[in-house]
């Protein structure tokens, strides 16, 4: 074969006798002890949302090697494929290099380079005018933003309620379902007790959230002989190593879970003592059909809930220690009203035969025998294998207990159940199941990660009411929060949404993370009102982060024929890379890579704590940018100062944080003594949690490998919601405001209040259009209903479910610019069960049309055994627009890679009256990506070869060099090793 030219001096130097080579014996041929690096810097990974600790080796100023930090609480030394490919992300040829101003039409990616001063002037000019007229005309939405504590606060300082990050299209159902039930949830909120669990049940796609901790945990479970069950239509990744894979039909997890509840109730296998002590099972619910108090808790004069004391045969304060509450029996209250313990309502509902395994088997695709066996196994693990720790602790009432008793059953779920229109109730059902088993924060069960548990729900309400928004003024609170009652909704008197995304409206009352997936459609329509500027950060809304991608692209570039102006007048975008969305921006603010900036993984934001203690972390610049780019957080702070935002300027109008983001991280105080970072507070770094700003704080973090962690005392580590020592600690740290025990809410009175409003009670009531919907979906006990797309599609026409899975080696769209990761996932295929392929006469690599009620996509298929036979699936976010990410226009990501997004309509079909609801959960507004229904048909032979739809290739903006034809990364390091000898 022809031999390529050898690069200069890359191995000749390696042939000498390595001076350290003697260790290995035949050192004559190998240097076994080369110097690895000149310098090591610690930081935090950003190759996905997991936020592992990393140790970065530098040589000659370049990155030699990134490894996991052994001491870090998240990853304990391991690092996944994404994190290990950080070098290629950092040196990606798709990196933007300078601020850009649009000179061509939107979408054409024709830009002119400008200086930062001009860029900031333009932005300040646009935003300043908005702020002085109507701050709501700024819609500020961030994507996989890890600085939401800053960006959300900035939005409230600006005065716009139109802010959210990507949670609304990611997993708000998971978060809200948990926070409204147990004051915590999965992933950032809590984790399985990997060391003590005997039985682990995982639902749906969870490979990305979280990543390394779950892998570490699964290995630990298996080493200990615990059973692992994976409930997922697709048997890949984690499901592949499960003891048992349950290939459930998408969107039916809630029904499966409630059937398990049915079985447990039927057998009396619930932890009654736990229910009485830590939940609202005994609280009396008023039964007064048609009354304004129907379904609310009976309360005493102080507003405390009542239970029925079985010994005293009288109502009693349900929160008091020492009462002997009844869990069943209808009673008459002294005022004559009828009431019943909430547990009885729960039991009556789920003991109904419609939740029996035989009834749900067909719908879920899980046999009745399997459901019964899993229920029996849960009960066996929880009650026959209980864990007893000889560890004294004191409960909220001051009673000392000698042991900690645990129910070693743990669960986990993420997007797989979250991204359905029935996801909120499914998530709640899952938590109800855990609560009934008595496993929440007990040894072997699910464990809260501080700052969780929080009160149910957390105490912050969304700002953005009419009186909250005023020209030139900040909002009185954060734009996102947790409504407690209809009065907390952000609606006009007639029920019209006040936010551009319609979050916290009757359409999506508990939209705790906003509804980013609706912003562009609504802004384009001017529904509920037109906006002026769409300001996006790290959100690839012109591609894989949008439903209905093709129309979204059109909306971004659509003009009003009457005025010739864009319907969305201005778009500012910040990203480090040439993503698909860059082409649609009027002004591009280039961000740095994650290795070039300061960052903060804050307890005020999305924490990285572990169950045995809170933790936070920073990123430090490991290398300096070699381009004219700035960290987005610095830019936002500078822009805030130019706009004169109160929190970002001093009394004299000068910038409050002239040192940018690191200055803010150290000196900003959200409440007195509480700032972005909890470690080394106080002038000498002597405090944790609360304390004065410490000018040396960042150095302390760097000395401690860029993270801080506080280990809870052993007595504080379980029963946190009712544990006096933990609750005291949480108050001291500022996690919660009172020492009151946190009662788990099996029955949700909050939901019932919305239902009552829908029935015509109270001052805040839904408009007629929404009444039925609110009444149906605000059931105070978890319900299951078929996903909306099941309802609106003809089963015969669209017989298949279509979902995505997240490849463990890719995160959203970011990975495709990565020279290494794209060799692993360069394009995606549609995976089809062998049975279905047989039925349709499909062979591997055949091209098919995937058709939904909305659109069609052409893709190649791959047959597979481990998939629910009525489900097709593919990898998420592999398909790319030609030319984007500085990939060649004929890259397989563009020619063969495809998105299911094209098939998903962001709106449901019109209902009576013509209104089209978002394709979202009716409670939280969560984007229902996984509701998708399709059919597949073999494409004609002449159609084979390329995916469709495809779009004209975009040309990279100025400053992006043509990517190299070959890579020999690391050759230089080897040369230098030789030079040393």
């Amino acid at each position: 074969m022809e031999r390529a030219d050898r690069p200069q001096g890359t191995w000749e130097d390696m042939t000498g006798t390595g001076e350290k080579g003697a260790t290995a014996g035949s050192g004559a041929r190998v240097d076994t002890s080369p110097v690895v690096s000149d310098e090591v810097k610690y930081s935090t990974c950003y190759m996905c949302a997991c936020r592992c600790g990393i140790k970065v080796h530098l040589k000659d100023g370049a990155i030699r090697y990134i490894q996991g930090n052994r001491n870090h609480p998240v990853n304990k030394g391991v690092l996944c494929a994404k994190g290990s490919a950080g070098i290629m992300q950092h040196y990606s040829p798709a990196r933007l290099t300078k601020p850009l101003k649009r000179v061509g039409e939107r979408g054409a990616a024709e830009f002119q380079e400008i200086e930062w001063d001009e860029a900031l002037d333009i932005a300040a000019d646009w935003l300043g005018a908005i702020r002085e007229s109507d701050p709501r005309k700024l819609a500020f939405f961030t994507g996989r933003d890890q600085s939401q504590a800053l960006t959300g606060w900035w939005a409230s300082q600006f005065g716009t309620p139109n802010y959210a990050a990507h949670g609304g299209f990611c997993s708000v159902n998971m978060a809200a379902g948990g926070l409204y039930t147990i004051g915590g949830s999965f992933w950032e909120f809590g984790e399985p007790d990997w060391e003590l669990s005997r039985y682990f049940l995982m639902f749906g796609m969870a490979e990305d959230h979280d990543s390394n901790p779950i892998k570490l945990g699964l290995a630990r479970l298996k080493e200990r002989g615990a059973k692992f069950v994976s409930v997922n239509p697709v048997r890949t990744g984690y499901s592949a190593i499960a003891d048992e894979w349950i290939g459930i039909t998408p969107g039916t997890d809630g029904l499966f879970v409630l059937a398990l509840v049915h079985e447990l109730l039927r057998a009396g296998k619930v932890d009654l003592d736990y229910l009485v002590r830590t939940t609202n099972a005994s609280w009396l619910v008023i039964e007064n059909p048609d009354g304004a108090d129907d379904g609310l808790f009976a309360r005493d004069d102080h507003g405390d809930p009542l239970c029925w004391d079985a010994e005293a045969e009288a109502p009693a304060n349900a929160l008091a220690a020492g009462v002997t509450p009844a869990l069943k029996g209808r009673v008459t209250l002294p005022d004559g009203r009828s009431a019943v313990p909430s547990f009885q309502l729960l039991a009556e509902r789920y003991l109904d035969p419609r939740y029996a395994p035989e009834t749900v088997a067909e719908e879920t695709g899980v046999s009745a025998d399997t459901i019964k066996r899993i229920a029996a196994e849960l009960a066996h693990a929880a009650f026959e294998q209980e864990v007893v720790l000889q560890r004294p602790w004191t409960d909220w009432a001051g009673r000392r207990h000698e042991t900690m008793v645990g129910r070693p059953v743990a669960m986990h779920a993420m997007r797989g159940i979250s991204a359905h229109s029935n996801g909120f109730h499914t998530c709640r059902a899952l938590h109800v199941l855990q609560v009934l088993l008595g496993s929440i924060d007990t040894p072997g069960g699910y464990r809260y990660k501080p700052p969780f548990p929080k009160p149910v729900p957390p105490t912050n309400r969304p700002a953005g009411h009419a009186q909250d928004v005023e020209a030139g003024q900040p909002l009185p609170g954060p734009p996102l929060g947790f409504p407690l009652a209809p009065e907390d909704l952000l609606v006009e008197a007639d029920g019209t949404p006040r936010r551009i995304d319609k979050a916290f409206s009757w359409e999506a009352p508990l939209a705790a993370h906003g509804m980013m997936h609706m912003v562009i459609t609504n802004a384009w329509k001017g529904d509920p009102y037109p906006i002026d500027t769409l300001f996006l950060y790290m959100a690839n809304m012109a591609w894989n982060s949008a439903m209905n991608t093709a129309d979204t692209m059109s909306m971004l570039s659509d003009k009003d024929p009457d005025t010739g102006e864009y319907r969305i007048p201005r778009i500012i975008y910040s990203d480090a890379y040439f993503s698909e969305t860059v082409a649609y921006a009027d002004l591009v603010l280039p961000d740095t890579t994650y290795l070039e900036r300061w960052d903060c993984i804050s307890l005020l934001d999305r924490p990285i704590s572990e169950a045995h203690g809170p933790a936070d972390a920073i990123r430090q610049p490991v290398v300096q940018p070699d381009r004219d780019v700035r960290p987005f957080q610095d830019v936002l702070i500078a822009l805030g100062a130019r706009l004169g935002l109160p929190g970002l300027t001093n009394g004299d109008g000068g910038p409050k944080y002239p040192g940018g983001y690191p200055d803010y991280l150290v000196n900003h105080e959200r409440l007195p003594g509480i700032g972005p970072l909890a470690g080394w507070r106080g002038t000498e770094g002597e405090h944790e949690g609360r304390g004065a700003p410490n000018p040396n704080q960042l150095n302390k973090y760097i000395e401690n490998q860029c993270f801080w962690q506080h280990e809870l005392e052993p007595e504080q580590r379980y029963y946190k919601h009712v544990n006096q020592a933990y609750l005291d600690f949480a108050v001291e740290m500022g996690f919660i405001s009172t020492r009151a025990p946190i009662t788990l809410q099996l029955y949700s009175e909050v939901l019932q209040k919305f239902r009552l409003a829908a029935r015509g009670h109270g001052a805040a009531r839904p408009p007629e259009r929404d009444r039925k919907r609110v009444e149906t979906y605000f059931d105070p006990l978890p319900i299951w209903y078929r996903p909306f797309e099941d309802e609106v599609n003809d089963e015969a026409e669209y017989p298949l479910h279509a979902v995505t899975q997240r490849p463990m080696a890719m995160y959203h769209s970011w990975g495709s610019q990565n020279a290494w990761l794209r060799q692993i996932h360069g394009f995606n295929k549609l995976f089809v069960s062998s049975a279905l392929a047989e039925e349709q006469g499909l062979e591997n690599d055949d091209w098919v049309w995937i058709t939904s009620r909305h659109n069609r996509v052409k893709a190649q298929i791959r047959r597979m055994e481990g998939v629910n036979s009525r489900t097709v699936w593919t990898w998420n976010a592999i398909g790319k627009r030609a030319g984007a990410w500085n990939l060649a226009a004929d890259a397989p990501e563009a020619t063969k890679g495809f998105l299911l997004n094209h098939l998903i309509d962001e709106l449901l079909p019109a209902r009576d009256g013509g209104y089209r609801y978002a394709c979202s959960d009716p409670v939280t507004g969560q984007a229902a990506w996984y509701d998708l229904r399709v059919r597949i048909e073999k494409a004609a032979e002449t159609e084979a070869g390329e995916t469709e739809p495809r779009f004209p290739a975009v040309v990279p903006p100025p400053g992006l060099a043509a990517p190299p034809k070959t890579l020999r990364y690391g050759a230089g390091f080897r040369k230098r090793t030789g030079d040393g000898r």
Binding site: P7, K20, T32, I241, P963
Partner: protein, 246 residues
């Protein structure tokens, strides 16, 4: 042709890979690439890295396949790199002496100064574990991170192959398979570690631990097939009648 060491090495360093916990995440694959592209075999070149047909030299790859039909089958993630065979055909076939097996620890290496890129070793390797670096015109392969495992510049706990250190599922173990007291030998004994294609006689050093038996049927966990109803005597929620105290 090149000779193997006259006597079997006293130490046989290698990997033990647990197919029960490997989730196919590719962490070992990419971390190997990352370490080695700047390490002993540097660089591990990539062709067409941002265009139509990206490819490159990787010293470790994970293959995923399914075994068995339908729900009863398994999805197997199978990581594969050089197995450092005792009878290394890649060495004996090498016409230049570039491929060799180290006498002291059994690691099979390529001395690139002597490699002419003929590819015979790749042809001879029964496991397909060799990687041609097309740009360099030389053969590359797993070195068991020979520039880590003895490296005095690294803290002692980090002196293990990059793939082992990074594996999030702790599915990779490194040690001396000739030492009966080593952790890897014990692990192989305990879990029934296996050779790949033992019938071919290459005597690979690396071992694979088979998946543990799945507990997916009645009788495998100690639990009954279904729960008994509890309310027979006390009527609806009869089991709820005991006194409870908050």
């Amino acid at each position: 042709m090149t000779s193997l060491p006259a006597n079997p090495p006293e130490r046989r360093l290698g990997l033990v890979i647990d197919l029960d916990t490997c989730v196919g995440c590719q962490a070992c694959v990419v971390n190997c690439k990352e370490w080695n592209t700047g390490g002993y075999p540097a660089p591990l070149s990539d062709l067409d890295p941002y265009a139509a047909e990206p490819s490159g030299a990787w010293l470790n790859r994970v293959h995923t396949f399914e075994a068995g039909d339908g729900a009863a089958g398994r999805t197997v993630h199978f990581p594969k790199s050089c197995l450092h065979c005792e009878n290394a055909a890649c060495v004996t076939v090498c016409p230049t002496g570039a491929s060799y097996k180290r006498a002291e620890d059994g690691i099979v290496l390529v001395d690139e100064t002597m490699c002419m890129g003929c590819g015979l070793c790749a042809w001879a390797c029964p496991y397909g574990a060799r990687e041609m670096d097309v740009l360099g015109g030389v053969m590359k392969k797993c070195t068991l991170c020979i520039d880590r495992i003895y490296n005095e510049h690294l803290p002692e706990e980090e002196r293990e192959p990059a793939c082992v250190a990074t594996c999030p599922a702790r599915a990779r173990h490194f040690g001396d398979l000739a030492d009966p007291e080593s952790g890897v030998v014990k692990l192989v004994a305990e879990r029934g570690g296996m050779d790949l294609m033992p019938e071919r006689g290459y005597k690979p050093t690396n071992k694979y631990l088979p998946p543990r038996p799945r507990r997916n049927r009645t009788g495998t966990t100690g639990a009954p097939a279904a729960l008994e109803a509890a309310a027979a005597e006390g009527g609806f929620l009869g089991w709820l009648d005991r006194a409870l105290s908050r």
